[in-house]
């Protein structure tokens, strides 16, 4: 610690910084309350699958269950994790410890999206698939899982960006989910293609029996759009992060 002129260290390697940032963000999001809360939602989804299996028309009942999963569970779970991924760092004024590092700015937002998705998929997408299985509608289980997983990925991009751009990101996210994703997608057909739930519905709808209440287009287009939304969210978050002055 006593060199007079600091020898600049080599630039940090991406395979060192990405995992370090990922672990940090994941750790900060992984609280018992969140795991139990979102886990309970996932468990509920499975329970609803059990109920659906007892219905006279399980396929029809599963439409309701999967609508619940895609329009309530996945967006709200991702909202909770996503807005807090970087939003909590801003609120707690800890971003300075990450900002003042020779790490390319895109890494932290990208890692936040990845960490959010890592948590959302097992807690919400897997239960969606399991719900389809326990309801006896095995033929839609894979599509249910994929639709929920890709929706979670897309929402992660949106909400991580929101966490940096808005001070009350969670509330704006709630307004987005409640007023736009739910109201617009299910009531105004033309607007469905501008919603995440519309495109995740498109992926779900590719399953036998078209079990989705809404569909914005083809499953292939849905895949492309949802991934693009996730990436765009990460880019938008990076733009904000680069400006600094976050706390």
């Amino acid at each position: 610690m006593s060199t007079v002129e600091a020898t600049p260290a080599a630039a940090p390697k991406v395979w060192t910084t990405l995992p370090a940032l990922y672990r940090l963000v994941l750790r900060s999001q992984l609280t018992l309350a969140r795991i139990l809360g979102i886990g309970a939602l996932g468990a509920l989804t499975v329970l609803l699958g059990v109920f659906a299996g007892q219905d006279a028309d399980p396929a029809q009942a599963m439409r309701v269950v999967l609508t619940f999963a895609l329009s309530v569970v996945v967006p709200l779970a991702t909202l909770w994790f996503g807005t807090s991924a970087l939003g909590d760092l801003v609120e707690d004024r800890l971003l300075v410890y990450l900002w003042l590092k020779p790490v390319p700015r895109w890494q932290l937002p990208a890692v936040a999206v990845a960490a959010t998705t890592t948590l959302v998929i097992p807690l919400t997408a897997v239960p969606a698939g399991v719900a389809a299985l326990v309801a006896g509608t095995n033929e839609i289980a894979l599509e249910a899982f994929l639709a929920a997983a890709l929706a979670g990925f897309a929402y992660a991009g949106v909400f991580v960006a929101a966490g940096l751009w808005f001070r009350r990101a969670a509330w704006w996210g709630l307004a987005f989910v409640v007023l736009w994703e739910n109201a617009a997608a299910y009531t105004a057909g033309g607007l469905t293609r501008f919603t995440v739930v519309g495109w995740s519905g498109a992926i779900l709808d590719s399953a036998p029996g078209s079990p989705s209440e809404v569909s914005a287009g083809s499953a292939g287009a849905g895949l492309v759009v949802l991934v693009a939304v996730a990436v765009a969210g990460s880019v938008v978050a990076t733009i904000r992060y680069r400006r600094g002055e976050l706390d």
Binding site: A33, F51, D55, V64, A170, W171, L174, A183
Partner: protein, 290 residues
């Protein structure tokens, strides 16, 4: 010659009258209400409350404008008083998710709760002040749009006679207060469990969206009793509104519609009381000093 005097400008004790602690509750309630509405703060603090209020007022505004433009030639009101609560359900949830977390969470997060409790407010009085504030602010959104509609129709000459208008006014107040009570108490209960506003907001929305799906799926698919639909809190409030105004919802085959008015009202009251009790229990145990 007048007597010269030197005045002591240092610290002086207060010898004047001291009000009862009840006034401290009212002061806290007013301060909290102003804070959650962004009054006395910058413009950006008013944006979210303003948006939600606008969404809540929109149906009333549209109804009034259409009635005036068409000279009330439409056979039925565009939106009836009874169905208004159902119509603005999303705005109610969003408003509750904004107001209660803002009222409760920052005080615990910042340590202000300890300062409040160091004065004449004990935990119960503190909560009473906060609950009063949240309830009062919620009534803005549950009562005002309907009052606006009634007033507009009275001024335009489309309202029923004086007696009926007074009855309508009482129904508006009753329905608004009941709805505000339910939304306020449930969101307060949720907010008492976390210091982060974001988590409380999300959990509030979940409380109004998850139980309804569980209850209705259980009722539809697993033959659960209709009474389970009392967990569909948003629908309990809107159903009670219909009953107060003597109306029937369009989709009258929902499980909640099969329940008696006493049960619906009792369910609303029970949920509200239980939620407030949970909130009070939480605050008894919270460590107020950091």
């Amino acid at each position: 010659m007048s007597q010269a005097q030197l005045f002591d400008l240092g610290y002086r004790e207060y010898d004047g009258a001291r009000h009862r602690p009840a006034l401290a509750i009212l002061t806290l309630a007013l301060f909290t209400a102003k804070r959650v509405l962004g009054l006395g703060r910058g413009a950006r603090h008013k944006v979210l409350p303003a948006i939600t209020l606008a969404v809540a007022f929109l149906p009333a505004l549209v109804s009034v404008v259409v009635s005036v433009v068409t000279d009330n030639l439409l056979e039925e009101d565009l939106i009836s008083y009874g169905e208004y609560t159902f119509f603005i359900g999303s705005a109610l949830v969003l408003f509750a998710a904004l107001v209660a977390p803002e009222a409760l969470c920052p005080d615990r997060r910042s340590g202000m709760l300890g300062l409040y409790l160091a004065g004449p407010l004990d935990r119960t009085r503190y909560l009473a002040g906060k609950a009063l504030a949240v309830f009062g602010v919620m009534t803005l959104i549950t009562v005002s749009p309907l009052l606006f509609m009634l007033l507009a129709f009275v001024l335009a000459g489309y309202a029923p006679g004086a007696g009926e208008s007074v009855e309508l006014l009482l129904e508006i107040v009753a329905s608004g207060l009941a709805t505000a009570l339910l939304y306020a108490s449930l969101s307060l209960a949720v907010s008492s469990f976390t210091t982060r506003r974001a988590a409380a907001a999300v959990a509030t929305v979940l409380l109004f969206t998850v139980p309804v799906t569980v209850a209705r799926t259980a009722i539809d698919s697993a033959d659960a009793p209709n009474e389970l639909d009392l967990m569909s809190f948003g629908f309990v409030a809107s159903e009670l509104s219909y009953r107060i105004f003597g109306e029937t919802p369009e989709e009258a085959d929902e499980p909640i519609s099969q329940l008696s008015t006493e049960l619906v009202a009792g369910g609303l009251l029970a949920a509200s009381v239980a939620a407030l009790f949970v909130c009070w229990l939480r605050y008894r145990r919270i460590e107020a000093f950091r």
